[in-house]
Symmetry: C2
Subunit: 258 residues, 2 copies
Amino acid sequence: MKTLKIIKIGGNIINNEVLLNEFLDDFATLETPKLLVHGGGKSASELSLKMGVEPKMVNGRRITDEETLEIITMVYGGKINKNIVAQLQARNANSVGFSGADGNTIVALKRPVKDIDYGFAGDVVNINTETISVLLANNIAPVFCAITHNQKGQLLNTNADTIASELAVALSKEYKVALYYCFEKNGVLSNIEDDNSVIEYINNQKFEQLKNEGIINDGMLPKIHNCLQSIQKGVSTVHIGNNKMPFEPHIKCTTFQQ
Amino acid sequence: MKTLKIIKIGGNIINNEVLLNEFLDDFATLETPKLLVHGGGKSASELSLKMGVEPKMVNGRRITDEETLEIITMVYGGKINKNIVAQLQARNANSVGFSGADGNTIVALKRPVKDIDYGFAGDVVNINTETISVLLANNIAPVFCAITHNQKGQLLNTNADTIASELAVALSKEYKVALYYCFEKNGVLSNIEDDNSVIEYINNQKFEQLKNEGIINDGMLPKIHNCLQSIQKGVSTVHIGNNKMPFEPHIKCTTFQQ
């Protein structure tokens, strides 16, 4: 089986032109097959405010009303996605931008309303890899924004970390998938104040221990849960680290184990 | 050679929900291979105004400053393109949204400044059909918005009619291409007040005659020129007509001839 690298980048890279350029330089020279997933929360909030729509967040998740969904579709699917693709083409890295509607790749269901009505937020129910596989086989890198659809014409807002892990799991049937989450730190830290305190390995047991000891902050819990789930569902390797991590094999980062 | 249908739709369909749904119903049932090109000028102007950016037009062409380019990328590449793709998936018509940057399909040069500075307007210089061909061969319909790129990382605004004709010409090497321009009238009219006065055939000679007699209004001249050019460059058939025209072979419309 060939190795497929799936890399997820978030706002800390997307909203920093220098970091983004550096990242795209690295991504462009990475050998194929490869796939990029991007978030972009800050830019959506900026446009929201420009248009007089106050962004609403609950537990770090965006409440996606109709107006917000339109903004997200424009910012994630349009502005950020098309610019990343154009920047990759400038580096001779052939790529095609995707939402989950394109190629019917990511089907989701609107999140049922319980305590909180998240609006047009989508929970992934199915991944169709055919179109992605055809492109990967032709050395074209799919670039995914964090939008899914319900196969009934409704676009939905889905967490970019989730999109990366769902794609990684689904593509593990055809590839040995290495999944990389890039963020602003060098990995999961045992001391949030010390960027060198990277926890190098996390498995289920270690995760329970870290939770019980209160070492990991709340924002990291779903991220780590996501990573452990991916490993259990067949993804070959999963790492959390900084923007250099996917390109430098000996750099310090957090690696997940079963 | 297989026949490929390329259909271009503009604002009159995109901005009318009933017409758009009807059109997408028809497009979804059309046999593959097929390709859709959409404009969407009115929606871009609406967002412009919402954001306090006054749309600037000269001779029916948009002046694309940096802010306007961003709006166009969001509206054409994000909002309209992703919604059309989601609507097609709801109709079981597999499709993938494209700008000219995706798959490096449409390379353009920023229009040189002469009398008028059009800003980030792009004139097409090269079409790469590889990615489109791979999708068409897999029964996936590419859906193009009117954005190109210069292969140096710059997105550019390009007329949707031009995109349709350039794609049609380039794909004529692999397919027998039938190109359809849908608009608000039944075809090119000899009497603008009478929607039944469709001129059924136009060739170069007839075009000269119509121009000399002042029968065709200024807005139609570049459209007709585009159509005649496409025929000369190898496109099999070119038609201008209403939104039903590509799906009903006996409907009245204007057909172009060499």
